[in-house]
Symmetry: C2
Subunit: 233 residues, 2 copies
């Protein structure tokens, strides 16, 4: 995604504090060191620390109050879905791949309804776009798993546009951002789905023809097994 690999000072401080919190080394209710102390610890200016803390505050990880200390919040109840972008830290917290299962379950749950809404509501232009993206996934080009994955994502992108639901769109963005964090193995994770040509074609046909329930059934068949496999591991 971001080819700009130049880390800023405030990003460094932010990542370190976030790791402290998500790992549990800083527990709920604990005060974090004062801005001045953090600045000295990291040998940076206090302004950089403030920018880092502001981001933690926005993410719902800490509560800041003038005069008082900045304390760690119960982030499982205050943070939003965007936190899933901190995948490595969260995964380290939970040990095994439970969070991967969680994300895939949510993807399946949302994906099924996205497909349903797309079949119901999409306009002619959106349906055509879905058909085009589906055709681009024709399996005549094998071996290029990365490329196929890219086109697979583009397909779902089109379906979500057709569903015309901003909440789904934003949630999808969050999930994609999280998957991007798990690195190169992402494409392999969806290999089975991309190879399931029969189900995939049924899904596309149903969406284009506006058969909402058939589309939902196909999406279920396509997405749920991936989540269940992750849950079994």
């Amino acid at each position: 995604m971001s080819t700009d690999a130049r880390p800023t000072v405030s990003a460094t401080v932010h990542d370190r504090l976030r790791a402290e919190i998500l790992s549990g080394r800083l527990g709920v209710g604990d005060p974090i060191p004062s801005e001045r102390a953090l600045a000295e610890q990291h040998s940076v200016n206090r302004h950089a620390v403030r920018e880092a803390v502001k981001r933690l505050q926005q993410a719902g990880l800490v509560a800041v109050s003038q005069g008082g200390a900045t304390v760690v919040r119960d982030w499982r109840r205050t943070a939003g879905l965007d936190l899933l972008g901190s995948w490595p830290l969260l995964a380290a917290d939970s040990g095994d791949g439970v969070i991967l299962r969680d994300a895939l379950e949510m993807r399946a749950s949302i994906g099924i309804d996205v497909v349903r809404r797309c079949a119901q509501r999409a306009g002619a232009v959106e349906r055509a776009e879905v058909a085009v993206r589906a055709a681009a996934l024709a399996p005549d080009v094998v071996g290029d798993l990365e490329g196929t994955h890219e086109r697979y994502i583009a397909f779902w992108d089109a379906v979500i546009d057709g569903a015309d639901n901003l909440a789904y769109r934003l949630a999808y963005n969050s999930l994609i951002g999280a998957v991007g964090e798990i690195g190169a193995g992402a494409a392999h994770l969806f290999a089975r789905e991309m190879a399931d040509v029969t189900t995939f074609e049924a899904l596309t046909t149903a969406v284009v023809e506006g058969d909402a329930e058939a589309a939902a059934r196909a999406a279920d068949a396509l997405l749920s097994p991936t989540a269940n496999e992750a849950g079994a591991a």
Copy 2:
């Protein structure tokens, strides 16, 4: 939620810029004014502007690059679900209540699977907690819509804990945060659900007894009508 109503300078600048972007007055790809210019426009220090921009950057609304200008991103594709907390701005953008419909559809979609997972996976402690919260909703206290709504939220809180899925938990937090933005009318929005005692009891029983599919059906009957009503309006 937040009783601290003292607005900070950077929050003011942040809100203004966010409104400019979400309203479309600043279009995708447009550069926003330089930090120095913004500082002068608002008669504030540049650091305050920087903190505001940092938050916009984290939310995926702008792309910052040293040396170059800070430009507005295509936030429908780069922002995460947390953006739903900017409800009033988004609603103003879409005109009518489409975003409310979107959020309620997502709530239904996720809620159904949450209930299913809860019935499957919840431990004895979590099941007991669900039963307790359900009992607390007994309709012997009528009239206090706000109080009932509060206990209704607490009930769903327990169900989500029982589902043991961090992604659902975080998404729920985002949705709750968004609903909090729509103000006092929130409780009224769910009045029908809270009054549907039959379905609600079926849901609770199924969850406690571990009947996943019965629970999912009940959740569907409880949640989907609300979304459909919002869609019809």
